[in-house]
């Protein structure tokens, strides 16, 4: 029996949609796991590591994205479980304000110093 042409067309569309969704999901998983610290490895992100912990973490991130969770919600969920340390990019709070502020202060100070030197000359 010959399959009608439009069924083939629908099948092709479904396949294209499925692969593009899978690609998008994988790139999202990669993006998030690059910002997650592998807690049992030395200096590696979850993305880089092949440890049992990192592999499970990648599955958790993928499952959360499948559930429709946003990137921020996933970070919050993991921070609740493992603390601030799990993410590479620290939040701006009373413990980390110096970390964020010092480069800015140094930048302004350096800029001022340069402009003063230039204007003196």
């Amino acid at each position: 029996m010959k399959k009608p042409k439009f069924i083939n067309l629908i099948l092709i569309f479904v396949l294209i949609f499925k692969t593009s969704y899978a690609n998008e999901l994988n790139s999202q998983v990669d993006q998030i796991t690059k910002n997650l610290r592998c807690l049992i490895c030395q200096g590696q992100s979850v993305y880089d590591s092949q440890s049992d912990f990192a592999i499970s973490m990648k599955t958790v991130v993928k499952n959360k994205l499948d559930e429709g969770k946003e990137e921020k919600e996933i970070y919050e969920y993991l921070k609740n479980k493992y603390g601030e340390w799990i993410v590479y990019e620290p939040e701006l709070n009373q413990n980390t304000f110096l970390l964020w502020l010092i480069p800015l202060i140094l930048f302004i100070f350096g800029g001022l110093l340069i402009t003063r030197k230039v204007s003196i000359k």
């Binding site: 807690l39 049992i40 049992d52 912990f53 592999i55 499970s56 973490m57 599955t59 958790v60 499952n63 609740n80 479980k81 493992y82 603390g83 340390w85």
Partner: protein, 176 residues
């Protein structure tokens, strides 16, 4: 005068940087979430090891009291080391829920047949995601949970020592 001010400010900033770095040297670089009191979302389903029955994780824990969870695997050597201590908890009538981490069910059952079963209930965690719900980083790990607040009150990373057993016992006695 101007030179002096420059010199003093440079010296001061160097001293400040030195103090910050010196303080940083004493900060432990090892990750430890033992003191982290995280909440657990008890809305996921789990599979039992012995009869493959799927249940809500909530059903395993005492809603009013403390519960002990132990994450283990038959392939993990430190789990074997802590096993006699877990048997001690069983002898003290302390219920321990076991999470069998990334294990072959057959090997897990053999492990228990050989060394004894200290668990009141065992659930499987084939891909390690259930252990992440409990904030675990590997095996073995033991967690004490407050069923009322649904939060972790104590975590023991690594094999349980005799001191840990005494601590768990006193935590549970304190509550009852």
């Amino acid at each position: 005068m101007k030179k002096n001010i420059k010199f003093i400010s440079l010296l001061l900033s160097l001293i400040i940087v030195f103090i910050i770095l010196l303080k940083g040297l004493n900060v432990s670089k090892d990750y430890s979430n033992e003191k982290l009191n995280s909440k657990i979302d008890f809305s996921f389903k789990v599979k039992k090891l012995f009869n493959d029955e799927v249940i809500n994780i909530e059903d395993l824990f005492n809603q009013e009291d403390l519960s002990v969870v132990n994450i283990w695997a038959s392939w993990c050597a430190p789990c074997k080391d802590e096993h006699p201590n877990l048997m001690q908890l069983k002898d003290m009538n302390i219920k321990v829920v076991g999470i069998n981490y990334k294990d072959n069910p057959k090997n897990a059952k053999n492990f228990l047949n050989l060394l004894g079963n200290p668990y009141s209930e065992i659930i499987t965690d084939k891909d390690g995601t259930k252990s992440i719900e409990f904030g675990a980083i590997g095996v073995p790990e033991t967690i004490v949970i407050n069923g009322k607040t649904k939060s972790i009150i104590k975590k023991f990373i690594g094999p349980l020592s005799n001191e840990n057993i005494i601590e768990i016992k006193s935590l549970i006695n304190e509550k009852t």
